[in-house]
Amino acid sequence: TVNEKYSLVFTEWVKLLQKVDIEDSVVLIFIKQMMDKGILSESDNMIKFMKCALELSVSSFKESDPTGEVFTAIDALGKLIIKLLIFQEFSDYYRGDFLNTIYSTILLVFAEDHEQETFNERPYFRLLSNLFYEWSNIRGHKFSSIKDVKIRKELYTFDIEFYNISATYLHSFQPFAFPGFSFAWVSLISHRMFLPQILRLPDKSGWEKLTLLIIDLFKFLDQYTKRGIVSDAISVVYKGTLRVILGISNDVPDFLIENHYELMNNLPATYFQLKNVILSSIPKKKIVPNPYDPNLNMADVELCQQKPSIFYDPVKDLQSLKKPVDNYLRIPSNSLLKAILNGLYRTEYDVKIGVGYDYLSIDNKLVRGVVLHVGIEAGLENERTSSSAVFNTKSSYYTLLYNLINEGSTELRYQILQVMLEQLRYPNIHTYWFSYVLLNMFTSKEFGSNISEIQEIMLRCLLERVIVNKPHTWGIIVFFTQLLQNKEVNILELDFIKNIPEIENILEQS
């Protein structure tokens, strides 16, 4: 049969690679012969061959002595794919099409195997790991290892696509789709030959797809993090996630900084430490004043005048609220406020496990979008005109947030205040402006009888971020200090504090 013939050919390939160096001319001759015989030159045959080779390699893995070389066939398959990716004459179709075909073939063979009792993720992990390794090897110094100048140029142009196509397929392999591949999947998105490369592609070209992958992971964790018992497997996935995010925070903090909005939109609501890790990221080379210094004043910190970079503009998510919000910021009006307020409530409950709640009647992502958009606009205004235009409780930026909180339900207040506190990050204009707004609200006389609930919610949101183990963001620490030191409201005398001795204790000690 055709399959038997292809198996023989592939077996020969594997044997060959065990005997000669991959750069040996014999290897290229072998490939050329495969092409001449039509095995690789016609796409149908190429797909059949790849399927056969992959199935054979996976069987070989399963049948091998686990203490010996289990990946020989898979490794050989990886090398073949890369050789074809680099050296084929891409005249009829394009290199990207070839890579897509390869990945699709792998995905389909994998999808069927995943449902079998004998499924093992390791050979598939190994194959993808190898593809990342081989590509990483040749791309060094702008593909200088490729002698042919034309091919070198093509590959250099293709580099960004290689990572984006790979990321697209990783998205298909995500845990919701293939739970039996979950741990291999987390290992792949954090692979040393994938993650640092996709993070550092020119013009942040890989950031969008990478954010999508991390969101896939967060959504999976969110779905299976229930109140009470969390399965061991999910706990382990969480630990791995935390460790990977710590790695990103160390190497490329800008990724977490600039994408925090989308990450916060999808982070499980009870993951406070991971939230802090993401929001504590500080741009490299920035020297940040000690947040525990009780004499620190954000007004004196030059960094607090700088606008933070944002990769994804939240204005894209505002949908029907964009116009009323922008109009309100220009000229506040009650009718606009009502429109915005109404737009923030959901039409159906959303199940969302949080601390002290199980569902949302508020569109919390829309809240985050609105709040961040207001902050971004305030930052722009600060630069355009003056700080007195925005550091001003009469400014529309302030009054919009004030009114939403004043008129909103308890739940809406919680969501808005929580999101505002998320903006207290490293020293920048958003951190500065939002702490100004929060401090003014906390000590405001304008809320009337609502003040007590608002103060309580603000403190609750603050404590949620501070009680957890470190790290704590710079902005949260500084703001907390400001709040504790403020002369207008004695926190310890507030009724709701006195009613909960444990909280009173914490605040007293602080």
Partner: protein, 47 residues
């Protein structure tokens, strides 16, 4: 409440000393338990 991250940071190699090191290029595995051997990072050799 999370956990004390010092041992996790230590296993990652952050921060080893006052110097700042990149860790993702030599990242072995998301879990310390599966990171018992070092992995070959990318490198290139002049002709």
């Amino acid at each position: 409440l999370g956990a004390d991250l010092s041992s996790m940071l230590y296993s990652l190699g952050i921060p080893r000393d006052k110097q700042h090191h990149r860790v993702l290029d030599t990242f072995q595995s998301p879990w310390a338990e599966t990171s018992r051997s070092e992995v070959e990072p990318k490198f290139s050799i002049p002709d």
